[in-house]
């Protein structure tokens, strides 16, 4: 009957958990976790203004959360595990939807004018990839390998009370203009990702059913993006311009 389309009506049980919308729920909920995490991280970064010692103390304190109940660093590792799982889920959902979208329109339009929609989606996807690349760099730099690019700081100079200090590493790193630049670029990507992500997540979770809630979601998206970009940009810039010193 249908001359071309050979698709048929689905038979048998269907489940919400196998739909693209459920994929979006996964993205939205894991995204929400990252928003929470990023805000906490930003708060922690601002400790650098109280000096590297305070910064290190804060990092140390994170390892002691729930300590009598959990072993030392237990909470941190659980949280890290959760973040890694979330990241995998978030990225997996994103890539699945991306490849679906490519499959949904293999033949492109000769004239592209769907500016707004296409730009936003591209921004989320390529922005997301940018963020992923940067995240690996960031983790290697400050968490996994603790790499120092600043020749002015020897390994000894990065120690505080005989222990390697992350606070000093941060200060050393952001005295380099190109490191700051990398972070600023990543922040722009993060800001845009958050702006559309927060709004989109609210829509995906079905929280934008009224004009008021839509306005609220837009405002929140602007606020979160603005606060995060500013909050993260201030410490590196302060270090670069010598306001915060080692």
């Amino acid at each position: 009957m249908d001359p071309v389309a050979t698709t048929t009506l689905l038979t048998g049980e269907t489940t919400a958990r196998r739909t693209t919308v459920f994929m979006k729920f996964l993205m939205a909920t894991t995204g929400a976790l990252f928003v929470f995490y990023v805000l906490m991280h930003m708060y922690g970064n601002l400790k650098i203004f109280a000096g590297p010692a305070a910064f290190d103390e804060y990092a140390e304190h994170l390892r002691e959360i729930l300590v009598p109940i959990l072993p030392y660093s237990g909470f941190l590792w659980l949280f890290r595990a959760l973040l890694v799982v979330s990241l995998v889920v978030h990225a997996y959902a994103a890539f699945t939807l991306w490849s679906r979208a490519n499959g949904a329109r293999p033949q492109r339009y000769a004239v592209k004018n769907a500016a707004k929609g296409a730009a936003r989606t591209k921004m989320m996807r390529w922005g997301g990839v940018t963020l992923l690349a940067w995240l690996i760099f960031h983790l290697v730099q400050f968490t996994i390998a603790k790499v120092n690019f600043n020749g002015a700081f020897s390994a000894d100079k990065l120690k505080l009370d005989g222990h390697p200090s992350t606070g000093l590493l941060v200060i050393a790193s952001f005295q380099l203009w190109w490191v700051v630049l990398i972070y600023l670029i990543a922040l722009v990507a993060l800001g845009m990702h958050l702006f559309h992500g927060v709004w989109s997540g609210a829509q995906t979770l079905g929280w934008t059913n009224s004009a008021t809630s839509r306005r609220l979601a837009h405002t929140t998206a602007h606020l979160v993006a603005g606060i995060v970009v500013l909050g993260f940009a201030i410490p590196p810039l302060a270090i670069l311009f010598g306001i915060v010193k080692g």
Binding site: T14, T15, A16, G103, A104, R108, W199
Partner: protein, 247 residues
């Protein structure tokens, strides 16, 4: 006005398509876009060339049969159906590129004609209220609050033209589905099947090969019936609801 038209020609579903350029002179600004194509077709037939195939039926913006990608915009520069677009929206000397809706789920049959059967199958999967003829209770036995009735109507205005899919960067049909889910879900009559309906419709949608939604709003921007984006929100909400309320 005189126009240069780049139009997608494709002899059949499996044939290789190509853009063909035509010159059309003395186009009246009062013509509708489709009447302009009618005139071009008459000239082609007189010259012995096969006319361009395109779908249209009511030509008053309600049947949803027409739909062309005009200069990269679904239904062209105005927010209306292609049949209600008039040539006064263009200028002398313009080059206009006309393409069919592009989506895996909407295969091209010929030239600018696509097969939108996927929409019918989405409705078949659950876009209805199950009531047999003669089984209906008295119409006034269930009052419907006016705001709900109004929202149901606003969503029911969808004409199934497919512009939302055509414009969406992911070729997603969420606006089409959201409109139906909202229409039926707002009404008391639609409640018994509400949770099962959304799951079945979205599953069929995915099965058809439409993309997922990325909340860009490109669909709502081109919808000739101005279906708002919040019907997708409603669909998401109902799907979430289905996970706890279905059983």
């Amino acid at each position: 006005m005189n126009l240069t038209l780049n139009i997608w020609r494709q002899d059949g579903p499996n044939a290789q398509g190509r853009m063909v350029t035509y010159q059309l002179a003395d186009v009246s600004e009062h013509m509708s876009f489709l009447e302009m194509l009618d005139v071009l077709n008459e000239q082609l037939v007189e010259k012995g060339e096969e006319p361009i195939a395109f779908d249209s039926d009511c030509r008053e913006g309600i049947c949803g049969m027409c739909g062309l990608m005009i200069n990269g915009k679904a239904h062209g520069p105005e927010v209306t159906t292609t049949c209600q677009l008039h040539m006064r929206s263009f200028h002398d000397g313009d080059t206009i590129t006309v393409e069919p809706w592009r989506a895996t789920a909407f295969p091209v049959l010929r030239d600018l004609v696509v097969d939108r059967s996927a929409f019918d199958r989405i409705i078949q999967s659950g876009g209805f209220i199950s009531v047999n003829t003669g089984a209906a209770p008295e119409a006034h036995s269930v009052p419907v609050p006016k705001p709900k009735a109004d929202r149901a109507f606003e969503s029911a205005k969808c004409i199934g033209c497919g512009a939302c899919v055509a414009a969406c960067p992911n070729a997603s049909a969420m606006l089409f589905m959201g409109a139906k889910v909202t229409h039926l879900g707002e009404l008391p009559q639609g409640q018994p099947e509400r949770w099962a309906r959304v799951v079945k419709m979205v599953s069929q949608h995915d099965h058809e090969g439409f993309g997922g939604c990325t909340n860009t709003g490109a669909c709502a921007d081109v919808c000739p019936k101005e279906i708002p984006l919040d019907v997708i929100n409603q669909l998401n909400k109902d799907l979430r609801g289905s996970m706890s309320k279905r059983a």
